[in-house]
Symmetry: C2
Subunit: 443 residues, 2 copies
């Protein structure tokens, strides 16, 4: 009988073992894909691409036991060689090849110049060949940064006593009303895809006090802008026993600070590849919705057309204002008008035309919507009635409040938008692995 | 201007601060929900339920500045009192109340006896009132264990150089063929919900070498068993540069060992609440499909009806065999017949009727399906042709191989099934927050 006892020691090493101190002169085997071959005649540079970076390998005729002519770019190989210091090589070391073993070969030459430092290809061409274009080192680095964002979100919230939940994406009714929903047939019953985990995360506050979820949400919006996706990853949390809705903004600020620190320490190579200087978030200004509009209007001569809504251009101007006046890339805009927020938003007792809610703008783009929710059963019923809505299909959501709920609130962060701003892109599709928009359903 | 500077210090404390050494005699404020009130006349025990556990609070007439008659179960409160050692209390300490502040009250008495140690309510009743039934301390503990499983999966894979990815759930075509797919209208185009992230994670092996995803998958299967869900959470990974498909089993064994350790250290209170003894996974036997069938058939007198398939009863018997003969709760069953595996499965060169694949059985239930995949472009085209399938809709998946891919493989783990077996339940709905099955679309 054979037994599995855990991760197997490999004969091959990783990049860290090659670049470590004291490895000079050692002979190692390392796997990777042939990123490029630069043939100089008697010597050739074979650049190996691995998950942990690039490694310069040197092929020398008469030394390397392999026929260079038969080596193709995009082949997966095991390279065997001796480690030498070389200041001009990417990692400060190079591998002088003694042998090459080919694991697999491509069937056709590369259709995109992925070995170039910047892949100067149109967004459409990149998206059409996503599994190829991301082999470019800069392109893939964006998604390593994205990993860091999600990882920081979870790690930080675990440390704050949050419990992770997994809520269904197929349901009978949407949390925010009937518009913009993808509809499907669920064993001959009408069903919809979840626009957000809003109802579920609130329902779980009565169980775990603090919960979070990182998962897909679906919006059948007919927008076709650089900021919109029809499926995206939402980072959601909801917390009970808040003293005020500022607790939620404070928690988000804590997350952002934690995230920036984690990116700096654990994702330094990717930050360097992308040439990114991270923003500061030591203190994030918070300003009322009406005041923010006024400030931007006065400074930049923008006419306020609708006092109850924030146009994308106004968001940009508010972002610019707080960058110029306070040096901050982030700004919380608070107290959004009640009529622009969902029924479950808590109105401000001081002026019920406004809510105890906020958006977080990053470089002039909304990346978060959050706020305090109504926790009182009767208040919730009254708000539903006042809006002319029906309780039908919300029975179990409402029961949660009937049987007691602490004061609570939460937020949702758009992962792709946050990543886009962190890496300095201007189209959210650049930081979405496989975007879904009005025209794109594949790959 | 107001500024957010990070998580705010709260006036209230958490349970760890109450139970810590040297806190006796201190006066603290702590928030929670009134779990039960046991009124003994001049003294009453008010049990507070919090995310971190239960706290016994003692109400004394004339000492506690509050009218006990007005306190309702399921109210959210801030309790203020002095910490005293008390061996009979759940945490070894109790809080002698000086005051109570009510934050919110329920509108009706609790419909389920959630304060009982075991909630002896039917599964249907529990699921119909999910946000209430999970307020039972044992019920919610199962989902804390579930959190630990996912957390361990990610932490372990990060440590092994995997990158987390987020792939779309709406697509144009399913990875495993046309059956069992939920269909929807995507802006007047036919679309389906992803049965698995299979194609996408393979496509990303060429980019990141090792990837994983934890997310929902959707299967329109008309099964109505204790093991099946129509939406579940899949823990998927895919890894390149494998020497053989055993590398994948070895990696999964490493994960399970890591998970068991993490549950033991970080989720000890929940293990205790549920009375769980964790299984061992130091060495997991691996046995060929045909051999496993034979062994179970011989020992238990089970007749082999179909040599190419494993019936659920056979899985149970194989699980029993390896428990009895080797003391193992886990067993890898390898080399499944080719005709029972998808087209992308790598056939065994030694006998192409079988594949380099495996299932992992835990206590006689399949919790994982995995294996090596075909990485050679021409081999993949040949297999598609041999099965009479069409390449249509798979162009970008196939292009990934055309332009070079390392040998690779991976697996998918059903989170709810794994949790179910860990906590000793026998219906997967017990370990699903909001199950979706043939009859259940709400809440």
């Amino acid at each position: 009988m054979e037994f599995m006892t855990g991760v197997k020691e490999k004969e091959t090493v990783d990049l860290a073992a090659v670049t470590a101190e004291g490895m000079e002169g050692r002979t190692v085997k390392i796997e990777g894909t042939v990123h490029t071959i630069r043939d100089m005649g008697e010597v050739a540079f074979v650049i190996l691409r691995r998950r942990d970076g690039l490694l310069q390998c040197v092929f020398e005729e008469g030394v390397t036991a392999f026929d260079l002519k038969t080596l193709k770019e995009a082949s997966s190989i095991v390279a065997e060689g001796t480690i030498h210091k070389e200041a001009r090589a990417p990692q400060g070391v190079e591998l002088r090849l003694t042998g090459i073993t080919v694991l697999s070969e491509p069937a056709a030459p590369m259709p995109l110049p992925i070995a170039k430092w910047k892949l100067n290809t149109s967004l459409d061409a990149k998206l059409n060949r996503r599994s190829i274009s991301l082999r470019n080192v800069r392109e893939r680095a964006k998604f390593r940064i994205q990993e860091g964002v999600v990882r920081a979100f979870r790690d930080f919230l675990y440390s704050q006593g949050f419990t992770e939940i997994h809520t269904p994406k197929i349901g009978a009714k949407g949390a925010e009303g009937g518009s913009n929903l993808f509809r499907l047939d669920y064993f001959h019953r009408p069903a919809v895809l979840a626009q957000s985990p809003q109802f579920y995360k609130q329902m779980m506050v009565g169980v775990f006090d603090r919960v979070f979820e990182t998962g897909p949400v679906f919006r059948a919006e007919k927008h076709n802008t650089k900021r919109h996706l029809n499926e995206y990853t939402s980072l959601d949390f909801e917390m009970g026993y808040i003293d005020s809705f500022e607790d939620i903004m404070a928690m988000e600020t804590g997350f952002i600070q934690y995230m920036l620190k984690m990116l700096e320490t654990d994702y330094a190579p990717e930050l360097q590849i992308l040439g990114i200087t991270l923003p500061k978030a030591d203190k994030i200004p918070a300003v009322r919705f009406d005041e923010a509009k006024q400030l931007a209007s006065e400074k930049y001569g923008h006419k306020i057309r609708n006092p109850y809504d924030l146009e994308p251009e106004e968001e940009v101007l508010i972002g610019r204002y707080f960058k110029e006046e306070y040096g901050s890339d982030f700004v919380f805009v608070t107290h959004y008008p009640s009529k622009k927020r969902p029924f479950y938003a808590m109105d401000d007792p001081a002026d019920p035309k406004f809510t105890l809610s906020f958006d977080l703008l990053f470089d002039g783009l909304e990346i978060t919507t959050g706020g305090q929710r109504i926790h009182d059963y009767q208040m919730l019923l009254d708000k539903i009635a006042a809006r002319g809505m029906t309780e039908e299909g919300m029975e179990q959501y409402l029961d949660t409040f009937k049987y007691g709920m602490p004061p609570h609130g939460g937020l949702g962060i758009g992962l792709e938008r946050l990543t886009m701003k962190l890496v300095g892109e201007d189209n959210v599709r650049e930081t979405t692995l496989f975007p879904r928009d009005l025209s794109r359903l594949e790959p």
